[in-house]
C-alpha cells in the first residue's frame, strides 16, 4: 500500500520514528527493500538512516534538470551542472530560470521525456530540410512547450511528501468485532502469516515450520502478535486518529476486524470501508506506535475525544444503557459497572450523562481507566439491548395520533402543519411503549437519529424546493413511501447536500495541508511550500546554496532521525 496519510499532520505532531519506518526503512523503493523480509527473519532490523529512499529518488530526478544535490555533514549542498545528454535542436527558455536558456535536457524515461525527444527530432528535421521560418518557429514553440511539460512533471510537491509504497503492509475491508478490547485488531489469517511470518521464523530459528504453518508455528505467531503493534490507517486521513496502533489478533476470513470502541475514531461505518495495516519492523517503530498511536496515547494527547463523542458507547449499546437505567435495579447494575452513584435527570440516563462520567474518570484515573470503563459500559449496553428484544416495526408510528396534513398546496398552511407535527412528535415521552417508544428512545438518549428524522419517517415531509427552485409539498413520509415525483423533488436537496459535503471535505483537506506545511526556510522546506518546487531547486543550485537541514521535516526527509 501507499502511505501518504502520515504526511498530512506535520512531523511534529506524529511519531518521527514511524514516519521514518514507513517512508524509509520499509519503503518499497529503498535500495535494500528486496532483502527486508530476510533481514527481519534473521534478527532485529535497525531503522534505515540517511540518505532516505525518498530523498534518493528526488536527487535522481533533480539530476535530469542539471541540479546536483549532495548530502554531507553540513546539510544538502545544491550545485548546477549542465543539464542532461539530449542536445536540443534549438535552445529554449529555461522553464525554471526566467533569465536562462536551456541547450540540453536529461530526458527521463517517461511519457513527457518521449514527447521532448519527438519534438526535438521534428525540429532537427525541419532545420535540416531548410523548412520555412514559419514551420521552424512553430516546431520550436512545440519543443519549448514539451520541455516545459517535462520539467513540470519532473519535480512536483508530491515528490517532496512522505509518500511511499510500504512493505510489510496489507489492505482489506473492515468489519466490527464487539469482543475485542480497544487495543486489539483482527488480522485475517493470510495477512497475519504474510506480515508476521518472518518474525515467527526469527523466533523459531528457521522458516521451515512457518512455511508449513504448523501448530507450533501458529502458537509462536499468535504469541508474538499479542506482544507487537500494528498500525491501522484509513484514507482519507483527516484527523490524527486515522492512524491507530493495535495489538493484532489472527482471525479467520478476509476482513480486518476493528474493536467497536475505535470505529468512530477511524470514521468506520462498515459500508465496505477499507483499511490498511502497516507493521513497524524495527523496535523503534514498535515503541513509537505504542507511544503515539495507541488509543490510550490518542486519548492522553487529546482528552476532548470523549467530549467530541468519539469513544463512548454508541448505537445499540447506548440504547441498552438508557433502557437499563429506566428501572432502579438497572440503575444499580450500572452503578456497579461505573463504580459510582448515578442519578437520572429524566426517565433514563442519556449519552451526555455517560460522556460526563467518562470525562470524570479520565481526569481522575487516566485514559486507560476511562477506556476500560467505556468498554465495560459498551458490553453492558449490548447485553441490555439484546435482553430488551427491542425491534422496529414496519408501520412505525401507526399508533400516534397525528394531525391531518393540509389538502391544498398553500405554503403557509404547510409550514404551520410541519411546525405542529414537529412539536407533536418531539413531545412524545411514552418510552415504555413497544410501538414508537423504542425508536423514540434511540433518538432521545442519543443512541441514533434525531427527532427531525423520526418526524420525516412517520409524517409528510412538508415543503421542499424542487429542481425548478419552487416550493412544493411532499405529502408522504418515509414509512408510507414517496411517489416518484415527490422523491425526485426531495432528492434535489439531498444531491445538494452531497455536493456541499464533498466541497466541505476538499476544504478540510486543504486546511490540513496548509497547517502541516513545513515552516523552515531551507531549500527543501521552501520547495515543499512552493507550487513549482523545481524553480526553488534550480535557483538554489545557481546560487550554490546549502540547506542546513535546520527543521525537523527536512532532516526526516533526508533520513536523519534525531
Amino acid at each position: 500500500m501507499v502511505v501518504s496519510d502520515c504526511d498530512e499532520f506535520g512531523v511534529e505532531s506524529l511519531a518521527v520514528a514511524l514516519i521514518n519506518e514507513f517512508f524509509n526503512t520499509c519503503s518499497a523503493i529503498h535500495p535494500d527493500a528486496d532483502s527486508l523480509a530476510d533481514r527481519v527473519a534473521k534478527g532485529p532490523v535497525s531503522p534505515a538512516g540517511a540518505p532516505s529512499a525518498g530523498y534518493l529518488a528526488l536527487v535522481n530526478r533533480l539530476g535530469h534538470d542539471g541540479v546536483v544535490a549532495s548530502l554531507g555533514d553540513e546539510g544538502v549542498a545544491f550545485k548546477a551542472k549542465r543539464s542532461g545528454d539530449l542536445k536540443l535542436a534549438r535552445a529554449v527558455a529555461h522553464p525554471w530560470l526566467s533569465s536562462g536558456m536551456l541547450s540540453h535536457v536529461g530526458v527521463a524515461d517517461s511519457a513527457e521525456g518521449e514527447a521532448v525527444q519527438e519534438a526535438n527530432v521534428r525540429l532537427e528535421q525541419m532545420i535540416a530540410n531548410g523548412a520555412p521560418q514559419v514551420l521552424v518557429e512553430r516546431a520550436t514553440d512545440t519543443l519549448s512547450e514539451r520541455v516545459q511539460e517535462f520539467y513540470a512533471a519532473l519535480i512536483t510537491r508530491e515528490h517532496l511528501r512522505f509518500e511511499s509504497r510500504v512493505l510489510f503492509s496489507g489492505r482489506s475491508v473492515m468489519t466490527p468485532n464487539k469482543h475485542f478490547k480497544h487495543d486489539q485488531i483482527g488480522v485475517p489469517e493470510e495477512m497475519a502469516w504474510a506480515l508476521f511470518g518472518p518474525f515467527a521464523a526469527r523466533e523459531l530459528g528457521s522458516d521451515i515450520e512457518v512455511k508449513k504453518r504448523s501448530k507450533k508455528a501458529a502458537q509462536v505467531l499468535d504469541g508474538l502478535m499479542a506482544r507487537m503493534w500494528v498500525v491501522g490507517t484509513r484514507a482519507p486521513a483527516l484527523s490524527p486518529t486515522s492512524l491507530m496502533a493495535f495489538h493484532p489478533v489472527r482471525v479467520a476470513g478476509d476482513a480486518i476486524q476493528v474493536p467497536i470502541l475505535c470505529s468512530k475514531l477511524m470514521d468506520g461505518d462498515f459500508d465496505g470501508d477499507q483499511m490498511a495495516l502497516i507493521l513497524p519492523v524495527t523496535e523503534e517503530g514498535q515503541k513509537s506506535a505504542q507511544d503515539h498511536l495507541s488509543i490510550v496515547a490518542h486519548l492522553t494527547r487529546d482528552p476532548s475525544l470523549i467530549g467530541r463523542e468519539k469513544v463512548h458507547p454508541m448505537h445499540d449499546a447506548m440504547f441498552g444503557l438508557a433502557h437499563l437505567s429506566m428501572t432502579d435495579a438497572g440503575l444499580k447494575e450500572l452503578e456497579k459497572v461505573a463504580g459510582e452513584s448515578l442519578t437520572r435527570r429524566g426517565k433514563f440516563l442519556d449519552k451526555k450523562h455517560f460522556i460526563a462520567l467518562l470525562e470524570r474518570v479520565r481526569a481522575g484515573r487516566g485514559s486507560e481507566a476511562a477506556l476500560d470503563l467505556s468498554e465495560r459500559l459498551q458490553r453492558k449496553g449490548f447485553e441490555a439491548a439484546q435482553q430488551t428484544g427491542a425491534s422496529m416495526g414496519a408501520f412505525l408510528g401507526g399508533s400516534l395520533d397525528l394531525p391531518e396534513p393540509p389538502e391544498g398546496d398553500g405554503v403557509d398552511e404547510w409550514r404551520s402543519y410541519v411546525d405542529e407535527m414537529a412539536a407533536e412528535v418531539s413531545q412524545f415521552n411514552h418510552f415504555e411503549d413497544d410501538e414508537f417508544g423504542v425508536i423514540a428512545m434511540l433518538a432521545e438518549c442519543g443512541a441514533r437519529g434525531n427527532w427531525e428524522q423520526l418526524r420525516q419517517y412517520v409524517a409528510p415531509h412538508g415543503l421542499v424546493y424542487n429542481a425548478a427552485r419552487e416550493l412544493t409539498p411532499i405529502r408522504h413520509g418515509w414509512r408510507d413511501g414517496l411517489p416518484v415525483d415527490e422523491l425526485l423533488a426531495r432528492t434535489v436537496g439531498a444531491r445538494m447536500g452531497l455536493a456541499s459535503a464533498l466541497a466541505e471535505m476538499i476544504e478540510v483537506s486543504r486546511d490540513v495541508a496548509k497547517q502541516s506545511a513545513p515552516s523552515g526556510y531551507g531549500v527543501l522546506s521552501r520547495a515543499r511550500r512552493s507550487d513549482n518546487p523545481g524553480v526553488v531547486f534550480a535557483r538554489a543550485a545557481m546560487k550554490g546554496e546549502v540547506d542546513l537541514l535546520a527543521d525537523a521535516y527536512s532532516r526526516l526527509f533526508v533520513g536523519i532521525v534525531d
Binding site: 514527447a115 521534428r122 525541419m126 523548412a131 520555412p132 521560418q133 514551420l135 516546431a139 512545440t142
Partner: protein, 88 residues
C-alpha cells in the same frame, strides 16, 4: 489581392517561404481541427499538423493541380493521422 492556392503552390515549388507562410496561415486552423477530431489529442494534432505542412513544403510538386488543393492537403493530413494512430 488574395492569391489562389494554385498560385501559392507554384511559388512554394520555387522555395518561396513567404508564399508558404500565407498558405500555412490559411489552412493551419482547419488542418489542426481535422486532426484533433481524428486523433482526439490536441498535442498530437499539433505535432502531425507540422509534419503535414513540412510535407507540403517538400513535395509541393506532387500536387497535380487537377483537384482542389484543400482535398490534397486533407488527404496528406488523414494519411499521417492514420500513421500516427498505427504507431502510437
Amino acid at each position: 489581392m488574395n492569391q489562389s492556392d494554385a498560385e501559392l503552390i507554384q511559388r512554394i515549388m520555387k522555395r518561396d517561404s513567404e508564399a508558404f507562410a500565407l498558405l500555412f496561415d490559411r489552412y493551419i486552423g482547419h488542418v489542426t481541427d481535422h486532426l484533433t477530431r481524428m486523433l482526439r489529442d490536441a498535442g498530437a494534432a499539433d505535432d502531425v499538423a507540422q509534419e503535414v505542412f513540412l510535407r507540403v513544403w517538400n513535395r509541393a510538386d506532387q500536387w497535380s493541380g487537377a483537384g482542389a488543393f484543400q482535398g490534397w492537403l486533407f488527404r496528406i493530413a488523414t494519411n499521417l493521422a492514420l500513421n500516427h494512430l498505427r504507431w502510437h
